[in-house]
Subunit: 290 residues, 3 copies
């Protein structure tokens, strides 16, 4: 079979403990046998559209030409739309729910050029229940896109401007400090912040990290170095320039998230660093777990 | 190489924390290079033949033509047989232990037509130990099936009627109520029951769910709606028609299993619903966690 | 595209909860589209080079001809070298950090024949940060190896003898006993020891297992049988000849690791078994959990 797309990059909150991912993959390759499915991740926290959106955005610069299937879909079966969005002169198509999940990925590839609401049920699987759109709606549509069916045949064309935007948290200034947020805690406990090295470049190589309300702890202040590798951090904490080019609060071979009780969404205050010796500084109260 | 089957759908309780799945896959594709291996799931609870059997049954309507390899095998290395079972006029072959794991899947594809006991060791890998039949027995047999070796060459033909059946829990009636069971708790905490919407259709749109002995709690009675989507449930609980067409005790964007302390195998009583307003009703004792 | 290698076997400590594995895979197949990536495992404990090395060694006899990519890399971004090591007359190439991770795998395939330090940055991806060598250094090098680029073009040739060796724990004798170590606890709780059946063959079919300092417990002595299958163990513990041909302290359908509080690295003393009846023997103190 000649294919228009031979690669599907697949992200979801399905986990791997059930057969969901295997079934969606089965439907796709059964209809479009030559297609390769790359699993980006399926361990997005259940229902966490924002986390899924951010993981998709981090991966998208590296995924091959083809279809991107993303499913984090707490509104499955309701009136939220299922959509397909064409980008990059037809070199890529995003497929998923219209709930903000796809927005950042679409934007990073140049923005939506055409979009459809996937409302032509003759392209879906007949189903005994409405709770598994990945299997019944998205997978058969993805397969048909790979086989060369044009986007416009799969549903009603919609205004790309009407697609639900994602919510991207922005840092804000407050009397010389930056109020930022943990956007992602990775497997190693590194805490990505929504701030880049450029944003704090004028402060020098040391930044004060303030946690006003750490989980189960006293307010915490640390002066930490801005570094390029985990090893430079030494025994304390550091702000490492991570693989996305953002600052991540990190420790060397230990979990900064576990030590500080941080999770996605936790607020963090950054201030120009007083001391420049890279040594940890703490004000007053006893340190939290370390 | 010309292949008789180019797809292997693979389910097990191997988990992904060890290299078991990767090694089995390596053996298959090393012997039969063009084959695609679809991972259905490998996170069946260790030794849980029934859970594996049910996951296989849920997936099987969607897997492509080819070989189905299923391994949940607490009796590995003992006299329990390793078998291969041909179905659907030769369009599919199930491979795995003869311990009930394959039964439901085989039945859903029309029943066993030919079967062999995989007792021809010349088709197995030589092995330093007898504990990894997936690698040493099943994988090389799967590869040879893909390469076109006939079932009958791989072992001794056995009577398909002698294959160990699966144990499928059936609901039973008791003075107007249905005594059912949780067959599966998925990643999102939805609790599939062994009962379909048709079984309670005469009761109307509200069903009383009775847990006589919830984990760490008082008996619990709830009147819940029968619905098609999670969103219709609202803030309480509901019985949603799930993607298999069964009723699942569920909550909207929360885990019903965690709230009620339910797991696979928990017994549940269903009764015709008294109130029809869809509001939760509770008799007497304080509610369990919510 | 004609490929020199069409298979990449991939092991890491990236986990699957983030998109790391998907991104590395994306980079490889985007550059070398026909390549198949086999995931050996990605759940090596974070930073645990030894555990990764052992998992790789267990898998390596079964992986197909091609490239082996292994990444457990706590020193990412520092002066530790990134290397590629050719083995088996060019039939295989190992790619990863030079920190001991690759050593056992390389040795099992006959030893390093050529090796390079991956210092030619024109073959790497440009990157906003130095923390993700899997994506930026290893993946593009792996792709080029698959496409036929010679090892020597990818970096500076180094002396294979200078590659960091792995640390393999060896058993030692002590007044007639063997002091061994748990090398691996698998998903089922089986505890592989660094000792083979041959090492205790002269002791007969019963071995005394002594835990001098179990987690949270009293010293423990058990006389256990040496067996070939889990089922032969019965209700107690046994030393089963595992799939690598090593002895593993195991229980039948239960987790020996959980019962005894064992983990990788725990020391265990083996002594000739006094009683030969296979019954558990305990000296003095109450048994730990069972």
């Amino acid at each position: 079979v000649s294919l228009r797309f031979d690669t599907v990059s697949f992200l979801s909150d399905y986990g791997r403990s059930d057969e969901f991912v295997g079934v969606v993959t089965s439907v796709i390759v059964d209809m479009a046998p030559g297609v390769r499915v790359i699993d980006l991740t399926h361990d997005v926290a259940p229902f966490d559209v924002r986390a899924g959106s951010l993981a998709l955005a981090r991966a998208i610069p590296y995924v091959p030409r083809g279809v991107v299937l993303a499913v984090v879909d707490p509104g499955v079966g309701t009136s939220r739309r299922c959509i397909a969005v064409e980008v990059a002169g037809g070199e890529g198509v995003f497929v998923g729910p219209d709930n903000g999940l796809l927005a950042a990925g679409v934007a990073l590839t140049g923005g939506a050029e055409r979009a459809v609401s996937l409302d032509r049920v003759e392209f879906h699987l007949e189903s005994p229940g409405a709770t598994f759109a990945g299997r019944d709606v998205f997978a058969p549509v993805v397969a048909r896109l790979c086989l060369g069916v044009d986007l416009a045949e799969l549903g009603t064309l919609i205004d790309p401007a009407g697609i639900l935007p994602g919510v991207v948290p922005l840092p804000r200034e407050e009397s010389g400090a930056l109020i930022v947020e943990v956007t992602w805690v990775d497997r190693f406990g590194n805490c990505q912040l929504n701030v880049s090295p450029e944003d704090v470049a004028s402060w020098g190589r040391v930044v004060r990290v303030v946690l006003d309300d750490p989980v189960g702890g006293q307010p915490l202040v640390r002066a930490v170095p801005v570094v390029s590798t985990f090893a430079e951090i030494g025994t304390g904490l550091g702000l490492v320039v991570d693989s996305c080019g953002m600052l991540a609060l990190a420790a060397d071979r230990r979990s900064a998230a576990a030590e500080l009780g941080l999770g996605a969404g936790t607020g963090v205050r950054l201030e120009p660093g007083g001391s420049s010796d890279g040594v940890d500084v703490r004000l007053g109260p006893p340190r939290v777990r370390e």
